[in-house]
Structures are given as C-alpha cells and as structure tokens.
C-alpha cells in the first residue's frame, strides 16, 4: 500500500463554496499529479508538479488551482464550486520522471 493520503474522502457542498482537497505523500516523490475521474470513465490529468514551486496544467482543462510549497503536500482548490465539478478527484505521485504512479484513495466531491 502506497503512503499517499487524501482528505476528505467524501465532500458534499453547496454551489459557490470554496473548497480545498488535501493530498500528502510520505515517499519523498518529486512528481505529483491530480486526476479527475467520472464513473465508468478514464482518468483525466488536470494538474501535475515536478517539485516544490512547480505546477503545470494537465490534458483536461480545469477551473481548479494547485500549489506545491512542500514536497509532500499538493492541495487542489476550487474557488467557487459548481455542480459541473462533481466528480472523483485522485492524487498520485511518482519518482520523477518515471512511472509507476502511486495513487491516493480519492475524494468523491458532490456539488449541489
């Protein structure tokens, strides 16, 4: 089992609220990722980071933002949640730049 943690596991929130999804890893990995996954669909990369102070947008456009102030921590923020943001958000890390990727348990976000 990989040492990568996500909180909260489940979040139900109203439209317009600001939310932060937490992701932490204790493996000392430089590279970290955020994916979005809808039921029965593939994972889509929305953000990644090469290391501290590095953030890049992924293949899928997202209104969320990320930060990387510490190696072990890669939080994702939505300034104003909308129902279209309802999805599962998965955080992962890897030894840069090579695979494999180690995933957290995910956060299931529902925006009402």
């Amino acid at each position: 089992e990989a040492d990568i943690y996500q909180t909260p596991r489940y979040l139900v929130i109203g439209t317009g609220k600001k939310i932060t999804l937490e992701c932490s890893q204790t493996m000392g990995h430089d590279k970290m990722y955020w994916y979005q996954q809808d039921p029965g669909m593939e994972l889509h990369l929305i953000h990644y980071s090469y290391g501290v102070n590095s953030t890049e947008k992924g293949d899928l456009s997202s209104e969320s933002t990320v930060s990387r102030i510490r190696t072990e921590h890669f939080p994702l923020t939505l300034e104003s949640a909308r129902p279209s943001h309802t999805s599962q958000y998965l955080c992962a890390s890897s030894e840069s730049p090579s695979p494999p990727q180690y995933f957290g348990p995910g956060t299931r976000l529902t925006v009402l």
């Binding site: 593939e42 990369l45 992924g58 494999p100 995910g106 299931r108």
Partner: protein, 117 residues
C-alpha cells in the same frame, strides 16, 4: 490525438480460468505501458510495467505482452479467483507523438472483470 481502447467494458469468467484483457492504442508510440487495478471507490494500484523493447513481463499469476507492431497489449490473469474481480486499467506513457511531460500517463477506460466462484 492519442486513443486507447480496452476490449470490453466487462468480462465475466469462471474461477480457475485465465482472464485475458486487451488494450489497443492508436496515434501513439509509447515508450512503456502499464496496467493498474482499481477497486470501486478507490484509487488505482500499479501492477506491471512493460517497456517498448520488451515482449513479455510476468509477476506471479499476471502476464503482460506488448506488441508495438499491432499497437496492442494483452494482460493475462491465470488461475483467476473471485478476489481478482476489479476494473483493470491500461495506461501509456513516454515515447513519440506525445506532447505532454515525460512520466505523464494516458489512461484507458478500463475493463471490469468479474470472477464467479
């Protein structure tokens, strides 16, 4: 753009049989291909990685093949057990014709495997 297809959304087999899952890709020449297992409501778990210059990789009851000419990977689970029931994801990375960062992966939708006792 790159496209990955996994043979079917669902595969049902009897316990003890060999499960074979297929991953096909187009518009891409990946440097490596990986297989992950995902259980409901959980994150994917890495199983196996095979590189473009490798034909076959094994790990316990798992076997992966990689045919860069056919642009196809086969994933086999021998002597399948009900505990093997899960969704299996194919993911590609590196190589040519991929505009993203090295180390980033493109995932297929997965095949849901059900092993009946």
């Amino acid at each position: 753009s790159q496209k990955i297809e996994q043979n079917s959304e669902a595969l049902n087999i009897q316990e003890g049989k060999t499960a074979t899952l297929t991953c096909n890709y187009t518009n891409y020449s990946p440097a490596y291909l990986q297989w992950y297992r995902q259980d409901p409501g959980r994150g994917p778990v890495f199983l196996l990685l095979i590189r473009e210059n490798e034909k076959e990789k094994r790990k316990e009851r798992l076997k992966v093949t990689f045919d860069t000419t056919l642009k196809q990977s086969l994933f086999h689970i021998t002597a399948s057990q009900p505990a093997d029931s899960a969704t299996y994801l194919c993911a590609l990375g590196g190589g040519l014709n991929y505009g993203g960062s090295q180390g980033n992966l493109i995932f297929g939708k997965g095949t849901k495997l059900s092993v009946k006792p």
